[in-house]
Assembly symmetry: C2
Homo-oligomer: 244 residues x 2
């Protein structure tokens, strides 16, 4: 039994691979690692070593807030790939932990990049965009899973501000929020009534100001502290390593 068996059976069931490609796959899944239950496999913030396949056992991908609240973003089962963001040179925005005795196989980074050799540089750019988006989804999971209503609202406002800023649509701690509170509520997993209350309260506390569709983050540092906001998951917009 090869380390890539489980992955292979997933890919085959999706009709994505033939046997030749399967052999190629097995060829790049080189070093097999074994971990005990509880062991950390990839640390948040650590530079990417390579991508991994889960050969056997269960692992979790999780993100913790600074006060200890923890959100498992998803479970990784045999055949699952992770840290496919190697392509982009980004550090991991999450921690991977073995939940049971775990066997993984590492897919070599340069081998992986070789697969893209011959493709347009745009292909990697799109890959990067997809990785980017995944990071935003993960953060959304943590936001809605382990943050209070107040924290959620603050966190979303901060994220929107940062994302809009990159394309020149926000500055001076202010931006146009062209959507109603019930859309915010649907994004945050709250009722629109409660969103209204929280926004009013943030305004009364002097953290934000609202007029029409304009929002101003009056005290951005305080907002960030309030919800434990980190730009790690967005930073890559500005600091990603160049690709070969």
């Amino acid at each position: 039994m090869s380390p890539t068996d489980a992955l292979f059976s997933r890919l085959v069931s999706g009709a994505l691979l033939d046997d030749a490609a399967g052999a190629a796959l097995a060829g790049i899944a080189t070093s097999v690692e074994r971990h005990e239950a509880g062991e950390v496999v990839v640390e948040r913030g650590a530079p990417a070593r390579g991508a991994f396949v889960v050969v056997d056992g269960w692992a979790s991908r999780s993100i913790s807030l600074s006060d200890g609240r923890r959100q498992i973003v998803n479970f990784m089962l045999p055949g699952d790939l992770f840290d496919l963001q190697v392509f982009t040179g980004r550090p991991a925005d999450h921690t991977v932990t073995a939940l049971t005795p775990l066997t993984t196989a590492q897919l070599d980074k340069t081998e992986m990049l070789n697969l893209f050799r011959g493709a347009s540089p745009l292909a990697l750019a799109f890959w990067w965009a997809a990785v980017q988006e995944e990071a935003i989804l993960r953060e959304q999971i943590v936001r809605n899973g382990r943050r209070s209503a107040r924290e959620r609202v603050a966190h979303l406002l901060l994220e929107l501000y940062e994302r809009l800023r990159v394309t020149g649509r926000a500055s001076d701690d202010a931006f146009v929020l062209p959507i109603g509170q019930s859309s915010l509520a649907d994004a945050l997993g709250l009722s629109y009534v409660h969103v209204s209350r929280v926004l009013s309260q943030l305004e009364r506390s002097g953290l934000i100001e609202r007029q029409r569709m304009q929002v101003r983050l009056v005290d951005r540092p305080a907002l960030q502290a309030l919800c434990d906001f980190s730009t790690l998951y967005l930073d890559a917009w500005e600091r990603t390593a160049k690709l070969g």
Copy 2:
């Protein structure tokens, strides 16, 4: 101003593109579409037409439960790409709605695939795995955002069952659940105390059985009905269209 300006400024700030690649990018972002606020841009379940860039305006990506509860999975702002799953031939597992007057540019499907011409078939397989994973993350967002504790637990058990089944690790409505309740709680955004209560209650209702680390989904249809479980987001494991 070209339709890809916002995307370009994102990619450039990540040092991913030079001007030549930017021109190539502009070359494949052909047909520009305009939508009114509230209009549906991509319908859940519809076959992929191509990938899109948001040129101007805001959109949401959302998933609704059959009783109307709605979860916005993320907001799409100018420069964001979406429906990158074209590569995989999967239908959309979510609905894209314009939140404001919206301008998008379509990236032609065959042009997109051409970018991968010359890359190994494995490159597309990895892309497919990433898309797969994103779908699971989206479902996790809906689960934790708009489902009750009872529904969440049922939904997660069903997902794990389906995912394990693909690699032969579950059958007969039963599988080994080798993790503690506090891991489940961390994944579901609940307290472990509450998870314990819910599991006990599901067992008393005759929907599941537990012994050691074994879980049996005694009445899978009822569980699926209980939490509005759809395999759409997992199905691709078995029904994805073949790639060129």
